[in-house]
């Protein structure tokens, strides 16, 4: 049972990671730096609960705000680059953050042992949940509370004017500008929101894993972050969730029986999925089919 709960936590955290990239992709920005914000959230929340002995909720919020602040700062220079250049610029940012934490060492004595991030050895003993006697059920519930809050917020945003503004900038910047939208505001806001969501994900990750090191936050994690919304499609937040379940639940776990050959098949399957459905597994057509299947009127709200 604890295996499935662990998997549920992992899926929740990766959904947050994917949603942080999803927000950015709505405005047409593709970022491979989400692992960097995730890392900021993870390390910061870990430091707050371990060194400053804060409660998890304020620690998590402070960590997410810090990640959002850095995303805000990155948002301005990132306005100048688009498409592939933005991808590479954000890779550079993400690697920069990773190397920063690779070098970070901040050890304080506590109960006879030294705790805190220890550069190359990673950040061990983030034992908030264990120390406070949380059960696996409670942790899973805690993680999914945040996932559902973020998903609900994004779902609501998508149905309000703000969602239309984000999508308008993503569809055609020139047209969006000519109806009086400020590209700077919209893009930097999306970047900041993405940073916040990734920060929440990172903070949760650090506490469920109890151990993080810089190798967790490589560009591979950032690639996962953008493959969820790409594979899931941009028509709604559920696409990202479906893609996370497909990749983490079905591919990564389901292919475990293949042992060492898993990565080989895994890579191939993602490529095939992308070739078959370039606009995502959960695109407008699938959404319409599903809606019809559950008895709602199909095609009525064909937004995408």
């Amino acid at each position: 049972m604890s295996y499935y709960l662990g998997l549920a936590q992992l899926i929740g955290i990766h959904t947050l990671l994917g949603l942080s990239a999803y927000v950015l992709m709505l405005t047409g920005q593709l970022s491979l730096g989400q692992a960097g914000f995730f890392a900021i959230g993870a390390y910061c929340a870990g430091i707050l609960t371990v060194i400053f002995e804060l409660h998890i909720v304020p620690a998590l919020l402070i960590a997410a705000l810090l990640a959002a602040f850095f995303a805000f700062l990155v948002g301005f220079p990132a306005l100048r680059v688009k498409g592939l250049m933005l991808v590479v610029a954000t890779i550079a940012f993400g690697e920069f953050v990773r190397l920063f934490f690779f070098n970070l060492s901040w050890r304080v004595p506590r109960d006879g042992i030294h705790v805190g991030p220890d550069s190359t050895n990673g950040f061990r003993e983030i034992r908030y949940f264990v120390a406070n006697g949380w059960s696996a059920w409670e942790i899973t519930l805690f993680v999914w509370t945040f996932v559902l809050l973020v998903m609900a917020a994004l779902w609501w945003t998508d149905r309000s004017r703000a969602g239309a503004v984000l999508r308008a900038v993503g569809e055609d910047e020139l047209a969006a500008q000519s109806v009086g939208l400020s590209l700077t505001t919209v893009k930097v806001t999306a970047m900041t929101a993405g940073g916040f969501i990734a920060g929440v994900g990172g903070a949760l990750y650090a506490h469920t894993a109890t151990y993080v090191d810089h190798l967790t936050f490589t560009v591979l994690l950032a690639t996962f972050a953008i493959s969820y919304p790409i594979l899931g499609g941009l028509s709604s937040v559920f696409g990202t969730l479906v893609a996370v379940i497909f990749i983490q639940g079905v591919l990564v776990e389901g292919l475990r029986f293949m042992g060492d050959w898993r990565s080989i098949v895994f890579g191939l399957l993602i490529v095939v999925a992308m070739n078959l459905k370039p606009s995502g597994l959960f695109d407008a057509r699938t959404a319409r089919l599903l809606r019809r299947a559950v008895g709602l009127r199909g095609g009525e709200k064909s937004r995408a």
């Binding site: 220079p77 100048r80 680059v81 688009k82 498409g83 592939l84 550079a92 070098n103 890579g267 490529v271």
Partner: protein, 299 residues
């Protein structure tokens, strides 16, 4: 002052290997406007095949060189077919992500081939050095610089003196017009990939023969260094790739000397970020950037 010059010289020497990697990136980007993020991994797999022969059959170093280059080309063709040819034309992004996912696959294959962490890679000559005045040069790095110069010369001739080079440049300039002139796009793109892998295979062999060891991390390392060097110099520009590679080498050498080893990669990424933000086309790529604005718009 002598330290400064010595560092700069070392940087140029080391930067020549980055330049070789950047050339590979620049060829494909010039023709396709797409990034092949599996580039480093394909070189790594090619080099692993060479090492495998060396470990199990103790073949001569030249055989290793030929195997490395040939296998890199084969892997490059595989990547092109799967991630670039098969993916729709307007989905540049999907092919970039696919190529990155394929990187995992190639790395796994390399680990299956040789499961230990580090293997010795045969060097072309024994490590040595010679002095000129107050400065010290390493023999194998000088050879790498020469190799880079020769390859750039050969590539320049190929691109500007042959019909194939003309076709490649025409496709890079305007794919539609090139197609009307009877240039087969698919075929040209495949050839560009072969050329990229050739350059990458030679670069990979030269770098590994200098380091005399190989690990699975080499793939990501090569991808990043080549990418940074290309971006610094200018996307899709051959002189830019060389300039970017040398610049990266010099900056890293100085960061290593004045700030310490942990700042070496940090400074490289900081430099890249600063360059992209202040001059998105790189040093020599501004022209391509303005001409190909479409390519940089939403991908």
């Amino acid at each position: 002052m002598i330290d400064f010059i010595q560092n700069t010289v070392d940087g140029v020497m080391f930067g020549s290997s980055y330049a070789l990697l950047a050339i590979g990136f620049t060829i494909v980007f010039g023709v396709m406007r797409r990034l092949n993020l599996a580039f480093g991994a394909s070189i790594m797999l090619g080099a692993y095949m060479g090492t495998w022969l060396h470990v199990h059959y103790q073949v001569h170093v030249l055989v290793v060189a030929v195997t490395t280059v040939a296998c890199t080309v084969l892997v490059g063709i595989y990547v092109e077919r799967l991630c670039f040819h098969a993916v729709r034309r307007d989905a540049a992004l999907a092919s970039m992500v696919s190529s990155f996912v394929i990187w995992m696959q190639l790395e796994e294959a390399a680990i299956h081939l040789l499961p230990e962490r580090t293997y010795a890679f045969p060097g072309l000559f024994a490590a040595g050095s010679y002095e000129a005045g107050p400065f010290l040069f390493r023999t194998e790095q000088t050879a790498m610089l020469l190799l880079a110069a020769v390859m750039v010369g050969a590539l320049h001739l190929l691109l500007h003196r042959t019909r194939f080079g003309l076709a490649l440049r025409a496709t890079s300039e305007n794919p539609l017009a090139a197609a009307y002139m009877g240039i087969h796009r698919t075929w040209t793109v495949l050839c560009a990939f072969v050329l990229m892998s050739l350059a990458g295979g030679v670069a990979g062999f030269a770098i590994l023969a200098t380091d005399q060891q190989i690990t699975p991390f080499f793939g990501l390392w090569a991808t990043f260094k080549g990418l940074i060097a290309m971006m610094l110099g200018g996307m899709g520009s051959l002189p830019g790739a060389i300039l970017g590679g040398l610049l990266l080498g010099v900056v890293e050498a100085h960061a290593l000397w004045y700030l310490g080893a942990e700042y070496r990669d940090l400074s490289a990424f900081l430099l890249l970020f600063a360059m992209l933000v202040s001059r998105p086309g790189g040093l020599l790529g501004q022209r391509i950037l303005s001409r190909e604005e479409l390519a940089f718009r939403r991908v």
